[in-house]
Each structure stands twice: as C-alpha cells, then as structure tokens.
C-alpha cells in the first residue's frame, strides 16, 4: 500500500515538474486566469452604460423638452445630435452615430393637453438586438416616471396598481454577479482539459509512454498519477478567480467555501477524466489538442454561462446532461449567490461523479489497449 502511494507520488512529482519547469508555461497557466476574470468581469455586462441618441423634436414644446431632459438626466443616454427632419434618421442610425432616435411628433403637446395618449417613437439600431431591447426598457422606465409625476402635478389619481419588484440573490440585477462566479468553473476547465489532453499524448509523441508502461506501475496507478497534478492546477486557477470575485469585484459570497470546493473537486475530476480520455485516443499532441478544442467549444457554449440552458430546445437540453460544465456552473452560482448547502447541490454532484466514473476507467483501459 505504501509502495503504491510512493509510486503515485513520484509520478505526480514528475508530472508537476514537466508542467511547471518551463517559465513560459508557468505564466500561461496562472496569469490568464487573473487577467481574464478581470477583463471579462468588466466586459460581461448587459446593463447599458452609454447610449448615444439623436433627438428629433417636431413639437418643440415644454413637455417634449422636459422628456428629453429626463432622458439626459439618467446618465445613460447621451445626446449626440439634434435632427430636423425624419429624413435624417436613417443616416444617424446607419453609421452607428446614434443607437437610438427619439422622435416626438408635432402634435405631442396638443395630444397630452387634450388628455389623449401622446405617442413618441423611438427608432433603435437592433444590430445588437439585446442592447436595443434593454434601451427600450430604459426609455419605458423614464417615460413611466414622467407620466407618474405629470399625473401627480395635475392632481390626477395614481395608476390603480403599483407593481413592487424585488430580486433575490442579486438585488441590483448585475450581470457580473452571475458571470464571475460562473467563470470560477469555466476558466479552469479550459486549461485543465487541454493540460490533461496533452499529458499522455506528449509522452506518446516523445516515445516515453512505452517506458512508463513497462515500469511496475499498473495503468490505474498511471492514470491516478496523471490525473492528480492537473486537478491541483485546476483548483489553483479556480481559487485565483474566486479571489478576484471576492476581493476585486466584491461580490458577496453567501455559501460556504467547503461546499464550493467539494463541488469544484468533483468538477475538476470530471474534466480531468474527459481530458485523459481524449489523450488516450490521440496519437500525438496536435490531435489531442484539436479534439480537446472541438469538445471545449460546445461544452462552453452549452453550459449556461452565456445563454440560459432553459432557452435551449429540448434535444439540446438533454445533450447538456453530459456536460460537466453545465452542472459546475449551476453549482458554483448557487453556492456562491444563494448560499445553498451540500444537500441542495447534490443533484449536481451525481452527474459529475458519473462522468468521472465513466471517463477515468475508460482512459486507464485505453492507455493499454491503444498500444496493441
């Protein structure tokens, strides 16, 4: 038993040395996790910060000026042009000078004064449909406040129903709050998968794998020795992203570290299993890397990190059941934001354990049989 542990430990040591001996690889393993979580943490936002808009005010009235002033006062809308005729709308939008044109018709104030609905038109550049949709929401909110205050000023009763809104787990509804915790799992998977995919393929390409097979180690032991170092590296990367989330972005963590790391351990085990299986079927490094990449792309895109799993068609939702990242992201987000315990996230751990239980023995078996 002790001999077995010693054998595994020395293989682990050799693997870690092979990975970390090159200064360039050391940089490439740890710096990107920090830089990426930093940059993407800031980039990943669906909240609007700056909407350049053009005003086409044909009513030239007090009310329309007040509406425009309110829009300017949000700090989000920035007036870049004042148009004179509707014919100028196309040019402003086409060249992306303005994201939106607020068009107030000539009868605006007359309609308002007569107590009728007074429509304003907003023309949006929906080349990015998402941004356009959010902008509509922002304008609606401004107009609603405008209406409410106008009603109050002329002594009309308030609207019959007020809707009170509240958001659980993310009070200001910041996209960053779900994205950065998601990256704790996603960023580390990228590199653990590539790293393990390469580990056996590299030995095979250099011919040292045969030497490893003739040592007293069994394929299972080789597999364990090959699996542990990338797992450790993956967990260190996750820790770096976690530290960024906690101390730089200051996203409050509701759950316990122990639960989080238990989940992450299951997850890295599953991704290492996937990586080793790829490694075992590849003849050389280039193949291993390409296969790994062909796998990583769908795993990332169908993980729910960028678009929700629930929006996917049924068939794809079933396919995501084989995606370890999907469960890991759900798990990390829930532990981090909602503070749930191990019992609640157990349904996420089972598929992760299942993926590891299939891929790791498969890899060990392939080590030997691929040679024949």
């Amino acid at each position: 038993m002790i001999a077995l542990l010693r054998r595994i430990a020395s293989l682990c040591r050799k693997e870690l040395l092979a990975i970390l001996k090159d200064p360039a690889s050391r940089v490439v393993l740890f710096a990107p996790a920090i830089v990426q979580s930093f940059v993407f943490g800031y980039a990943a936002t669906y909240d609007l910060a700056d909407v350049p808009y053009a005003l086409l005010d044909q009513s030239r009235s007090v009310a329309s000026a007040e509406l425009a002033a309110r829009l300017d006062g949000t700090g989000v809308f920035r007036r870049v042009a004042t148009l004179r005729t509707p014919g100028e709308i196309a040019a402003a939008i086409d060249t992306q000078r303005a994201l939106m044109v607020l068009h107030v018709g000539p009868r605006f104030e007359a309609l308002l004064a007569a107590g009728e609905p007074a429509p304003v038109q907003i023309v949006l550049d929906a080349r990015n449909a998402n941004t356009a949709g959010s902008a509509v929401g922002y304008v609606n909110a401004v107009v609603e406040r405008f209406n409410a205050e106008r009603r109050a000023r002329i002594g009309a009763p308030p609207p019959p129903v007020t809707v009170e809104t509240r958001a659980w787990f993310n009070p200001n509804l910041e996209t960053r709050w779900n994205l950065v915790p998601g990256m704790i799992a996603a960023l580390s998977m990228l590199q653990t998968l590539l790293l393990t995919a390469l580990s056996v393929a590299r030995e095979r390409e250099q011919g040292t794998f045969d030497q490893l097979l003739v040592t007293p180690m069994s394929p299972m032991e080789i597999m364990v020795g090959k699996a542990l170092p990338p797992m450790a590296i993956g967990l260190v990367q996750s820790t770096l992203v976690l530290a960024m989330a906690l101390f730089w972005f200051r996203i409050p963590m509701a759950g316990s570290l122990l639960t989080l790391y238990t989940g992450l351990a299951f997850f890295t085990l599953a991704s290492v299993g996937l990586g080793l299986s790829i490694s075992a079927v590849s003849a050389h490094m280039q193949q291993a890397m390409l296969y790994a990449f062909v796998l990583i792309m769908p795993l990332m895109l169908l993980s729910g990190l960028t678009t929700p799993v629930r929006n996917m068609p049924q068939a794809l939702q079933i396919a995501t059941l084989a995606n370890p990242l999907r469960f890991a992201i759900d798990l990390v987000q829930r532990v981090y934001l909602e503070g749930v315990g191990l019992a609640t996230v157990a349904p996420n751990l089972i598929p992760l354990a299942a993926i590891a239980a299939v891929t790791l023995p498969l890899a060990a078996w392939l080590f030997r049989h691929r040679l024949a």
Binding site: A24, V28, P32, Q36, V39, F40, A44, T45, Y46, D47, A49, D50, T95, L99, L112, P117, V120, Q121, L124, A126, R127, A129, N130, N140, V143, F146, N147, R150, R151, A156, P158, P159, V161, V163, E164, T165, R166, A167, N170, L173, T175, N178, Q191, L198, Q286, Q287, M289, L290, F293, V294, M297, P298, L301, T307, P308, N311, M312, P313, L316, L337
Partner: protein, 381 residues
C-alpha cells in the same frame, strides 16, 4: 517567376495532403463549424419565452384573477398557480420558477381606492433574464389593471389625463431574435478558430519537431514555404465561411441586405489577419502547448467576449473598450453585422475594411520578420 509558381504549387499540394491525412484537422475544419452553426442557431438564445412564473393569489376574488390574466397572454411568461407563498418560495429556491407574482389578500379592496399593490420577485442569478421577466410581468399587470379600470367606467368618471406612450421601432432586426445577430458573429468565431488557432498549432508542431528547418535548407525560399503553409488553412477557412453562409441563408433565414461580394471580401481580409496572427504566435512560441494556449487566450476568447459578439462594447468601462477596439475581430464583427442586417453602409464598410486591410498588411509583415529572425537565431549556434 515560373520557378516560383512551380515550387509553390508542389509545396501547396504537399501541405494539402498533410492537412487531409489527419482526421483531427478535418474535425476542426468541418465538424466544428457544423456543430457551432447548430448550437448557435438552435441552442443559444437570449430571448425569453415561456419563463415559468409562480402566481400566488392570496386574494381569491375574480377581480384579482382577472387583473392577473395579462400574465397568461404574454408569450414570454408561463404562469403556474401556486397555493401559498411558502410553496412559491420553495419552487423559486429549486429554480423551478424564474419569478413569483404575489397578489396580497387586500388586493380587490385596495384596487377600488386605486392603491392596490402587486409584488413581483425575480430570481436574480441570471440578471439579464431577470430584467426581461420583470419588464414583461410589470407591463402585463399594469395593462390588465388599466383595461379593467376603463371597463368599469372609472376612467370616464374622471377628467381624462393623457399619457406619453412609447412606440419602439427596432431597425435591422424586426423579428427581434438573437439568432439574427448571433449567426453573423459565428462567422467571426469560426474564422478566428480556423485561421489563428489551427495555423498556430500546426506551425508550432513543425517548429517543435524541426521539420520546418528541414524545409528551409531546400532551395525553396522562405516566402514560398510560408505561403504554401498558409494556403490550405485559408481554404479550410473559406470552407467554414461557405458553410456558415449557407446555414445563415437556408437554415436560419437571416437576411443579407448588403452585398455578398463585400461579405466575402471582408471575410478574406479577416482570414489573412487571423492566419498571420497564427503564424506570429507559432513562430514566437515554437511550442505546441504554448502556441495553443496563447492562440486561445489572445485570439479566440477575446473574439468571443470582447468583440461585441455577446456583450456590447458601448456598455463596458473605457479600459476594456480600448482593448476591444484594438482587436481586429471587433471591426470584422461590426462589418458583418452591418452587411447582414443593415446593408451596404459605405462610410462604415470602407472604414472597417481599411482597418482590416491595415491589420492584414501589418501582421503579414510581422509574421515574415519574426519567422526570418527565428531562422537566423536558429542557425547561430
């Protein structure tokens, strides 16, 4: 000149054979684009449809039920009646519902005096989705309430008030589906992948094994070797582009308002940029692992996250926006979206094409310089 073309032709033929011999190259050149097209077209959607919402009617009166009827009419929401707030909270914690709409017991009584309140609670773990659901639910409730008030003649009894209403017009994406803007973005991703990632990987392997040096000692000139290496990957990239264009047209019916020739021209320019980037990365790292990591980190991830593909660059802090604006992918993305959805907007098309051409020329020159320098230092000892 004849010698040049003959040598280039035979070298290119050799490279094509080498490319086709390995199944994994084809996996990334053909299988991956097809998988991505299907995922992007069918799998990725930011649109909210049929989001489950728990509806807690603590007021059992027909007035309350009617006021909530608007929720049922919205295609974005799928309300589920739930008996108690406790049950609704449990569903929310299990993420079985995205939101809770709670109608308090005194709803119909307070509605009569115009002070009714309805509570909408969303699950904030997916902020973007939560915002959209809030907007839909709030709008549906408010409208149903106004309708009710009108019908009961309450409004007629009072002085008409008038209100500003907003009529949005979504240009360039009347259908308001994310597929329309994700599919042009997909072309950028696939070109980056094939151009930069595949080229970096294959060339790094040659550097690592020394086969490139073996080629350099033949009478063939370095430029010819580089060109012969680049042409097959260029062809694979064009193949990926063709697949994307066909899918966009026939599978997803994304309109192409601009000219096809401009799309092709822009894509070729960007492909030159991506392939040159791949060459530079491989020449500098000369190691497969490093090359793959650098290609991933320097080209692929930024073109996914920072090019305006998913997240609009207008909304990010200035420092991040500057990084985004330094990426050639950003301009290609803008160009493709405009050509697909808005048409030939010449000022924008010309500007972006010029920027891409400048990047292409600069990176090609850099690739040549780096390769030559590497060869010199390789010979020195």
């Amino acid at each position: 000149m004849r010698g040049f073309s003959r040598r280039l032709l035979s070298l290119t033929r050799k490279e094509f054979r080498q490319l086709l011999r390995d199944r994994s190259n084809l996996a990334i050149g053909i299988v991956l684009p097809i998988v991505l097209i299907l995922i992007f077209g069918y799998g990725m959607s930011l649109d909210v449809k049929n989001a489950p919402v728990a509806l807690v009617l603590e007021d059992a009166s027909p007035t309350a039920a009617e006021a909530m009827s608007g929720l049922r009419g919205s295609p974005a929401l799928a309300p589920v009646a739930v008996r108690s707030m406790h049950e609704a909270e449990q569903l929310m914690r299990a993420r079985a519902v995205d939101a809770i709409v709670r109608v308090p017991p005194d709803f119909s009584r307070t509605l009569a005096v115009g002070q009714a309140r309805v509570q909408v609670i969303v699950h904030g773990a997916d902020a973007g989705r939560a915002r959209i659901i809030l907007a839909y639910a709030g709008g549906a409730i408010a409208q149903a309430a106004l309708r009710q008030a009108d019908r009961q003649g309450a409004a007629a009894a009072r002085e008409p008030v008038g209100a500003v209403t907003v009529e949005p017009r979504l240009w360039f994406n009347a259908a308001n589906t994310s597929t329309w803007y994700l599919v042009p973005g997909l072309i950028v991703l696939i070109m980056t992948l094939v151009g930069a990632f595949l080229t970096a990987l294959v060339m790094a392997r040659e550097w690592e094994r020394g086969t490139l040096e073996a080629l350099f000692v033949t009478p063939v000139r370095p430029v010819e070797i580089l060109l012969a290496k680049v042409i097959p990957y260029f062809a694979v990239g064009i193949l990926g582009l063709a697949l994307c264009l066909l899918a966009a047209r026939f599978l997803f019916a994304v309109p192409m308002l601009g000219s096809l020739w401009l799309v092709l021209l822009a894509s070729m320019l960007y492909l030159v940029v991506a392939v040159s980037l791949g060459l530079v990365i491989s020449s500098v790292t000369r190691n497969q692992f490093l090359a793959s990591q650098v290609a991933l980190i320097a080209t692929f991830l930024p073109s996914l996250m920072l090019s305006g593909f998913l997240f609009d660059l207008r909304n990010v802090p200035t420092a991040v926006r500057l990084i985004g604006q330094a990426l050639p992918a950003t301009y290609f993305m803008e160009l493709l979206r405009t050509l697909f959805l808005a048409g030939n907007v010449w000022p924008l098309v010309l500007r972006d094409c010029a920027i891409l051409a400048a990047y292409a020329a600069g990176l090609l020159a850099l690739a040549r310089a780096v390769t030559r320098k590497r060869l010199d230092t390789g010979r020195a000892p």
